[in-house]
């Protein structure tokens, strides 16, 4: 059979495809729907958090920080309760990472404050001596991208049925409503920060990337489940 296949590239390719497809079908299909269900009480990301998540992705934070706490005591002691599949139901894409150059962040919102993050991002060694993380001054200068964050939340709602605008949940509404909520939420973060330039910019209606990123980091944790 093999000598025949070697003379017929078309059937060779078909044979390859059959041999190769089995694993994908067996491994991916059976649990596909089940493992994407949200756990009870999980709320979607707000628009400000979504904007922060986009900053997190764009700066490549996932290259050094994982968001997956494995079920070992050393990890639950260090980071908090181990991660559950249903916590990631609104994460597109997932951000588990594959290397811990820095610590895991899946519960970082439960243990760190806005002020801590702001200091850490401006000068990491000021709060963690000997940290090898770079400083992120440019996040204090650039405005967060509200439009794209709204576009993402809107797409999550319309295409993937993520529960925005439900009773006691996260409101989204139209773009004006969303902007209003976005500014309100940003104000809370800005009030907790000490950086004068960020505060002044906010007075003029500008939300800096750092504000959005901190909102996202604050959302990482078990607090998000019970809201």
């Amino acid at each position: 059979m093999f000598s025949w296949l070697e003379k017929n590239p078309f059937f060779f390719t078909v044979a390859f495809l059959l041999v190769f497809s089995i694993a994908g079908l067996v491994e991916i299909l059976p649990d596909f729907i089940k493992s994407s269900r949200p756990i009870e009480g999980l709320r979607p990301y707000t628009v400000l958090e979504t904007a922060g998540r986009q900053v997190y992705i764009s700066e490549g934070c996932y290259n050094c920080h994982s968001q997956l706490i494995r079920p070992f005591q050393a990890e639950t002691d260090r980071y908090g309760a181990y991660s559950l599949s249903g916590e990631y139901a609104y994460d597109r894409p997932f951000l588990w990472g594959s290397k811990r150059t820095g610590p895991d962040l899946h519960r970082v919102g439960d243990s760190r404050t806005t002020d801590w993050h702001a200091n850490h991002m401006w000068e990491p060694t000021s709060v963690v001596p000997y940290s090898i993380m770079p400083a992120y001054h440019h996040l204090f200068k650039k405005d967060a991208d509200f439009d794209t964050a709204f576009a993402e939340a809107y797409t999550q709602k319309v295409v993937f049925g993520v529960p925005y605008d439900v009773k006691d949940g996260v409101p989204l509404g139209n773009i004006e409503d969303a902007k209003k909520a976005y500014m309100q939420e940003a104000e809370e973060i800005v009030n907790d920060m000490k950086n004068q330039k960020v505060k002044e910019a906010f007075e003029k209606g500008h939300v800096k990337e750092i504000v959005a990123l901190i909102a996202y980091l604050n959302s990482l944790g078990q607090a998000r489940i019970n809201k």
């Binding site: 491994e27 992705i57 494995r70 599949s85 609104y90 597109r92 894409p93 809107y154």
Partner: protein, 488 residues
């Protein structure tokens, strides 16, 4: 083989890909060295403002090496050996030649756009699939062009039987097509909402599902670019260079079909102890161990091809590159399965040991095979002898020492990291703070950086040797048969 002489092969496209291999290899490795030293000396993060921060550069390094260096090498080999094993020449097939050129130039445009967009922080964040959606579409176009070239060439072939290298090229082409498309399915948010950035999209899959699809792809980018594409190269160039027939045809058949069946299951070993279903993790773990068989089948087949001919190791640096490449392949494919065992994975996952594993594979197996293949093609494409055998020899040793420094420092640093993370005192409390585990790694990061730098220096010597061969070396009156001629 003798009637080969009557065909005048057309190397124009292979030459272009050879240049791309050198350029992207240099850029990718240079960024790699910068990244390595950034971890030891964080101030290096600011050499180019926000554009040189680790998180932005790392995807450029991986994409540059996988899609710039490795794919260029694979395609240089395809446009060279494809004609030879199919007994065709692009001189007689202007359409195939046109497709080849189109393939090359669109690929270059794609890579330039990839570099710009990644520097700008435009990324999907899925590892080895970072490119934004419009570029994904361009990737598909480039890939299809390769398919047209490959299957088109087979359509007009004079040689009835498809040579082993082409089995592996077919596998690379087909598998990557399927995996890439499924992993990159995404919804551009602008098209749905009409506001925001047109470059932004969100994945079709969420959370655990997204992770499964991502590592189904991520691991098999290794399988079908770094493995089957490179096996295709060595199966042609090692027998050609050594003048020896491949050791065993049956072993070839066994290792090909079992590799193709087994590899794809192994993606699950990236998500052990994660939130994907347990049985998926177990399958990933078990099949990763089974994967030793086909991998070693190929490596043993290569090494035994040299049986009775080991004196060639002394005589030819090219054979040294090939033999050490196969040896590194054995090392990497033993190490990988060990790391996929659940209890070992609990320690190794998230640590530098994984980085070490990837690099003994890529530096030793992928890099050496491509470099050796380029050296083999040079005298035949340019009808000149290789400029300097001595440079090749020195290059070989510098690079080899570099690789050893790289993986040994990463083994130590990874295992140290893993042990310190889990260490508890007599009362069961964690012994170390996270930052303690970072500080202790400093010396290993420096050694790794030096290892990487040595490899880069070796690669620069390679580029120099290639350029001098093309421009200043002694001309040959005809194509050499085997054993590449080289000056002292």
């Amino acid at each position: 083989m003798r009637d080969n002489a009557t065909l005048e092969y057309d190397y124009s496209i292979a030459k272009l890909f050879l240049y791309a291999t050198m350029v992207f290899g240099f850029i990718g490795m240079l960024i790699g060295v910068v990244l390595a030293f950034q971890l030891a000396f964080p101030d290096l993060n600011y050499i180019a403002g926000e554009y040189s921060v680790f998180g932005r550069l790392r995807p450029l390094h991986t994409n540059g090496i996988i899609y710039g260096f490795t794919l260029s090498g694979i395609w240089a080999a395809w446009y060279y050996l494809g004609q030879r094993v199919l007994k065709i020449t692009y001189h007689q097939h202007p359409f195939l030649k046109f497709i080849g050129y189109l393939h090359f130039w669109l690929y270059i445009i794609l890579l330039v756009l990839a570099v710009i967009s990644l520097f700008a922080g435009l990324t999907q964040s899925k590892e080895y699939a970072e490119l934004i959606w419009p570029l994904d579409i361009l990737v598909v176009v480039v890939w299809v062009l390769w398919g047209v070239s490959m299957f088109g060439s087979m359509g007009v072939r004079r040689e009835k039987t498809i040579y082993i290298s082409l089995w592996y090229f077919i596998a690379t082409f087909t598998a990557i097509s399927v995996l890439y498309i499924f992993n990159n399915l995404a919804v551009p948010t602008y098209l749905v909402s009409g506001v925001g950035s047109v470059w932004h999209s969100i994945s079709m899959y969420s959370g655990s599902n997204d992770a499964m699809i991502q590592w189904w792809w991520g691991h098999n980018a290794v399988a079908f670019v770094f493995t089957s594409g490179i096996i295709a190269i060595i199966y042609y160039f090692l027998p050609k260079e050594s003048g020896q027939p491949i050791f065993s045809y049956k072993l070839t058949l066994f290792s090909f079909w079992s590799l193709m069946f087994v590899y794809i299951w192994a993606g699950g070993h990236h998500v052990i102890y994660s939130t994907v279903p347990d049985w998926v993790q177990t399958l990933g773990s078990v099949f990763s161990v089974i994967l030793i068989l086909p991998s070693w089948g190929t490596a043993i087949n290569m090494l035994l091809t040299m049986r009775g001919q080991w004196h060639q190791l002394k005589e030819s640096p090219l054979i040294k590159f090939f033999v050490l490449a196969s040896t590194f392949y054995m090392l990497a494919t033993l190490e990988g399965p060990i790391q996929a065992i659940k209890s070992v994975n609990a320690l190794a996952h998230f640590t530098d040991w994984i980085i070490g594993h990837v690099h003994d594979g890529t530096l030793g197996w992928v890099g050496f095979t491509i470099i050796a293949a380029c050296y083999h093609m040079l005298p035949r494409m340019y009808k000149r002898e290789i400029y300097s055998k001595k440079i090749m020899d020195i290059q070989f040793w510098i690079m080899t020492i570099g690789i050893v420094l790289y993986f040994s420092s990463m083994w130590i640093s990874g295992i140290t990291q893993g042990m310190m993370w889990r260490d508890v005192d007599q009362y069961g409390n964690l012994t170390y703070q996270f930052i303690d585990t970072v500080r202790v790694l400093f010396p290993y990061y420096v050694i790794r950086g030096i290892g990487g730098l040595m490899y880069l220096i070796g690669f620069i010597m390679f580029i120099y040797n290639v350029v001098m061969t093309i421009t200043a070396s002694k001309e040959l009156d005809r194509e050499p048969n085997y054993a590449s001629p080289m000056a002292a």
